[in-house]
Amino acid sequence: MSSTDESSLTASHKLEYSYKRSLGPVLSRFFTGIRDRQLLGAKRADGTVMVPPKEYDPDTAAALDELVPVGPGGIVKSWAWVSEPRRQQPKDHPFAYALIQLDGADTPFLHVVDTNDEAAMKTGMRVTATWADEATGAITDITFVPEDAR
């Protein structure tokens, strides 16, 4: 503890839960796909594709086990610029959180678009996934960049 004045002591305090999550059969394939540089979505009975995949259809509760390749390109459906990232956010420089509808998917999914310029962000723009040099099977293995920047 350090003393700021004689009346009150302060100290840094860290609360931490070191959770491990068992992925189950569907998300296990999704994250294994990310490590192997392939994005996957779940195909529903009506032919639409959900990304990220779920184990059960949210409308019919039917089990979903057919995963199909999607992306790596997609369209930004909505976005928010993070001008001052906090310590635990995925980038240490300004970036955009975006809802990205991958090619072949019918639902958008939340991820990062890494451009160094907020003015480069537009709803409807095309982006594409890029992988870290060492993919480990984590959602942070990928980052999206504007397609015309590649």
Binding site: S8, L9, K14, L15, E16, L23, D36
Partner: protein, 168 residues
């Protein structure tokens, strides 16, 4: 062309972390500064005289402020009110298993404190046993409850059940 076989990803580590700057406030700061001098400070409620340990800014029962003048120093001896033997490890608790967590009612206090028991065989742990604090060497004292390493049994008869039953 050989097919690459890779292990599937089945588990993700997803730690949740919150970092705070904790401000103790006047009353708890007084308690912590007392610990730095090897003192255990409690606080007397001005309404009913009950002694809360550690110090508090106001009485939780009557809602009245508890002034600094109501601070009283408690001895580092007390009674084991209840306990639990811990045999499961926790990442953030460096104690060797098994260990005994205890609720101690310090002599003169009306609230219990939580700590651990040391220098006692597991089969000898029981409610009512008399305990004494084992402190770190004085040169290592900080504004921390960690100044007390653990409590150890005193060579005294057990406290009668009636003396601590309302604290179980």
């Amino acid at each position: 062309m050989s097919e690459e076989v890779s292990e599937p990803i089945e588990v993700l580590r997803l730690p949740v972390e919150l970092e705070y700057q904790y401000t103790a406030g006047k009353s708890a700061s007084r308690f912590l500064r007392g610990l730095q001098q090897g003192k255990l400070l409690g606080q007397r409620c001005p309404v009913d005289g009950r002694v809360y340990f550690p110090t508090r800014g106001c009485c939780p029962q009557h809602g009245v402020p508890m002034a600094e003048e109501g601070s009283i120093e408690l001895p580092d001896v007390g009674t084991l009110v209840t306990y639990s033997i811990v045999r499961v490890p926790s990442a953030n608790i460096p104690l060797e298993l098994p260990y005994v967590t205890i609720q101690v009612l310090l002599d003169g206090a009306d609230t219990v404190m939580m700590h651990v028991l040391g220098e006692c065989e597991l089969e000898d742990v029981h409610m009512g046993m008399r305990l004494e604090a084992k402190w770190k060497p004085e040169e290592e004292w900080e504004t921390s409850v960690g100044n007390i390493l653990y409590f150890v049994p005193l060579d005294e008869p057990d406290a009668p059940y009636e003396s601590y039953k309302e604290h179980i």
